[in-house]
């Protein structure tokens, strides 16, 4: 398998090169573009590490949406007044600390125990009882359901934090960061043709998550990206932040998760336990609601804080 090793080495070098580029690029835009390329290649690494679930998340979220957000910020940075670099003393100290951390971690990687302790067998062994085929989904929705539940609340919280950055007078308006003034025809065409296909793929990713790589986070991310595409071209309008409907959608996933979890007290014998025989449908219901909530939350996170009610501001 030396060819595989060579391919992996090439991949690792490419990634390191892009990371260095991201750190030293002269313009912020260049650095962000380097980072997006980096994210895409990291998705390939996840494939090489046999973690396709993660690769899907990385491709959609880590490279796609993150790059989108960062590029938007890069374009709005002030052009002048570059910040002063810290003094050489701090840089030296930081360099020493970082190098020490990196070297220590490298040593740890080389010294990891020969017999890798793992929970993989336990996670796989309990899957049939849940009716699932994808152990990652089993971990996310059953064994460690509490993490996922809190995680979906974190997304809502991030959105509240984002909205709280609005100006007082703008509260109740629509998010306005995405609308571009005069989208080019090619972009509009893309926003007309791609979203239906994206919806199919998004729903498919959620649905297949039960048996194969995929799941609510991946599906929700694709759906959010498609929504953002239509927002950018003005084909759809973002909802007002005061609306109750959009908030219901945002909490639908965590709320259903919580409700089924509480029902588990009586039906499954414990909080967040699924009654035997009903695990799969309940898990799929939770995943469906989560997909929807995640899609709305991610889309609104990209759409930015609300702007005043009097139409979009350029």
């Amino acid at each position: 398998m030396s060819v595989a090793l060579a391919a992996d080495a090439g991949l690792a070098l490419l990634i390191l090169g892009l990371a260095v580029w991201t750190s030293i690029a002269r313009t912020a835009g260049g650095a962000v573009i380097g980072f997006m390329a980096y994210g895409l290649l990291v998705a390939l690494v996840w494939v090489r590490l046999a973690a396709v679930d993660v690769a899907l998340t990385e491709a959609a979220l880590g490279s796609g949406l993150t790059g989108f957000v960062l590029l938007g910020a890069a374009a709005r940075l002030p052009r002048d007044a570059p910040a002063a670099r810290p003094g050489w003393g701090l840089r030296l100290a930081a360099g020493v600390v970082s190098a020490a951390v990196a070297a220590g971690l490298a040593a740890v990687v080389l010294l990891l125990p020969v017999s890798a302790p793992t929970l993989a067998p336990a996670a796989t062994a309990n899957l049939p009882a849940l009716g699932l085929g994808n152990p990652v989904t089993g971990v996310l929705i059953a064994y460690r359901a509490i993490d996922t539940l809190l995680e979906s609340v974190v997304l809502v919280l991030a959105l509240i934090g984002l909205w709280s950055l609005a100006r007082d007078g703008d509260w109740g308006g629509r998010p306005g960061a995405l609308r571009s003034a005069d989208p080019s025809p090619a972009l509009v065409l893309l926003a007309q043709v791609l979203p239906p296909l994206g919806i199919l793929v998004g729903i498919y990713l959620f649905w297949t998550g039960a048996i194969a790589p995929g799941g609510a986070f991946q599906g929700g991310t694709v759906l959010a990206a498609m929504w953002v595409l239509t927002l950018v071209t003005g084909l759809t309008r973002p909802p007002r932040v005061g609306g109750r409907g959009v908030r219901l959608l945002l909490v639908a996933g965590p709320a259903l998760f919580l409700a089924i979890g509480v029902a588990g007290f009586w039906l499954g014998g414990a909080f967040l336990a699924y009654p035997a025989g009903y695990a799969k449908p309940l898990i799929l219901a939770i995943e469906a609601a989560l997909t929807l909530s995640i899609a709305v939350a991610l889309g609104l996170l990209l759409a930015g804080p609300p702007l005043a009610q009097s139409g979009p501001r350029a």
Binding site: L112, V154, I160, W163, S164, R244, G261, L267, G269
Partner: protein, 517 residues
């Protein structure tokens, strides 16, 4: 119907832990969906229930004399995640609930939806974030799984950062950004530590990890790296010197109620995790070494924070720097508990006094600092500013507020009769008992510094000379009472005999790592 899991275990009262964790989460979602004026109502309705739950948990623990435990989803660790509350957790849950109740009552006046609109930005954000802080804190205090605790920490970060910049001024935005970057770095390092633990021992469950660390002969290098990385990350979140840069501007710029929550509770969460890491996870021999480093940093923080607090011109900045110093005291617990000299006490089946002292410091500082920030908020609201040099004679205009501030100060200085006195007394005597007199010097110097900077506030405030002050805005009596209540809490702690702090020891004695085996 049968549960799918077979190995699940839960103690009587275990569902209370789920309730404590999920009540704020459910309330958060409800408040967010209902919005507008309902958000405040939801919070004010939930807080007493949460307080009741915390009391019930403490009662259950005292009644049973053992910790509560609950396996979520019926999946036992290491595959599943469990919740766990010992006496310390219960104490902190209770403290959190009391402080948040006070903050909720206090904040009503600041975060009312103005008439004429159905919803406003700051109130919605504040009330939902308050619930989120609560959820995050409870999750941290109940967590038993390193990754679950990571999610809890993130929940806390996402709740705390926007609280800092609710006013929207450029200074607070910059402060929030700095806080966020520090907090993120901290969580990433913590996560890396968790990953390494998992890689070395195949579990994230704290008791299992501790058992495996104790049984394996040589400690894996990964575990050492993990502990170091986690500690560094958590120190950044706790704002221990020299990773404190973010704290003063963040806490000083937040609204008074927000500062109270941040200073009194949020920074304690990451301290609590450091405590758990070194006393519940790592073997005692290592803890003994790390304790010296941690305490040295703590001592530096006590002195450095005290000196900087002396030099502040604004009341809120002074209180923020005071937090820096008071956090330092917490870290003195490490060498005082994890010390060979403390072993005989453990053999007698008792927890070292330093342990009780540390917990008492945590709790009394929470009450005192929340009271101080809220008192400062009242003063700033009444005067329209919080410059120290403009405080002359404020004691005549707002006697109750200044009295509350002074009471809280009493506790910070460690003067009797106060919780601060009891805690510092316990720490002092422990340092002498274990032959570590140098920490005694630090504590005494810290007490002097605290006295000095509080004198800078109280002397002009209580002076009777000078022209009478004019208030920009009247102060509501009810808010003063809330502040006074909290300050009294911090004092009353010192009047209770030490023996009644048995709660903080329940569930700790059997745990590995406290002192030497």
């Amino acid at each position: 119907m049968d549960s799918l899991a077979t190995l699940a275990s839960a103690t009587w009262g275990g569902p209370l832990l789920v309730l404590a964790l999920m009540l704020p989460v459910a309330a958060l979602m409800l408040a967010f969906v209902l919005g507008g004026r309902h958000a405040e109502r939801v919070v004010l309705a939930t807080l007493p229930i949460g307080l009741g739950v915390a009391v019930a948990i403490a009662a259950a623990i005292i009644h049973q004399g053992a910790a509560l435990h609950y396996d979520l989803g019926g999946w036992a660790p290491p595959l599943g995640v469990s919740l766990h509350a010992d006496g310390l957790s219960a104490t902190l849950l209770l403290t959190t609930a009391v402080v948040l109740c006070a903050v909720g009552l206090y904040a009503r006046a600041d975060f009312r939806v103005p008439p004429g609109v159905s919803e406003a930005r700051a109130p919605l954000a504040f009330w939902t974030l308050l619930l989120a802080v609560w959820a995050g804190l409870n999750a941290v205090f109940l967590g038993q799984d390193l990754f679950n605790l990571y999610v809890a920490l993130e929940l806390l970060t996402f709740a705390a950062v926007p609280l800092v910049c609710l006013s929207g001024s450029p200074q607070t935005i910059a402060a929030a950004l700095r806080y966020l970057l520090f907090a993120l770095m901290g969580s990433v390092l913590y996560l890396l530590g968790g990953a390494l633990f998992y890689g070395a021992y195949g579990t994230l469950d704290i008791p299992m990890l501790s058992a495996r660390l104790a049984s394996g002969d040589p400690i894996a290098p990964a575990a050492l790296a993990a502990a170091a990385l986690m500690t560094a990350g958590l120190l950044a979140k706790t704002a221990l010197f020299p990773l404190h840069l973010w704290l003063p501007p963040a806490h000083a710029g937040a609204p008074a109620a927000g500062s109270a929550v941040l200073s009194a509770l949020v920074v304690k969460a990451s301290f609590f995790l450091i405590l758990r890491l070194w006393f519940d996870v790592m073997p005692a021999s290592l803890t003994h070494l790390a304790a010296q480093v941690l305490a040295a940093l703590g001592a530096a923080a006590i002195l450095f924070g005290g000196v900087l607090a002396l030099r502040q011109a604004r009341l809120k900045m002074l209180i923020a720097y005071s937090t820096l110093a008071q956090i330092g005291y917490l870290f003195l617990v490490f060498p005082l508990v994890a010390n060979p000299a403390a072993a005989p006490i453990l053999d007698l089946g008792q927890t070292p006094g330093a342990w009780t002292g540390g917990v008492l410091q945590l709790v009394s500082h929470a009450f005192a600092k929340a009271a101080m920030f809220m008192a400062a908020g009242l003063i700033a609201g009444a005067l329209g500013h919080d410059q120290l040099r403009g405080l002359g004679g404020i004691g005549r205009v707002l006697p109750m507020t200044v009295f509350a501030f002074a009471l809280a100060g009493l506790s910070l200085m460690g003067l009797p009769p106060s919780g601060g006195f009891a805690s510092k007394w316990l720490l002092l005597s422990a340092s002498i008992e274990t032959g570590q007199w140098w920490w005694t010097l630090v504590m005494l110097a810290g007490g002097l510094l605290t006295g000095a900077y509080l004198f800078r506030v109280l002397a002009p405030a209580l002076s009777t000379r000078g022209p009478p002050l004019t208030l920009v805005k009247p102060v509501e009596r009810s808010r003063e009472l809330v502040v006074l209540g909290l300050a009294l809490c911090s004092v009353v702690l010192g009047l209770v005999p030490f023996s009644s702090f048995g709660l903080v020891q329940i569930g700790r004695l059997g745990a590995t790592g406290i002192g030497l085996p």
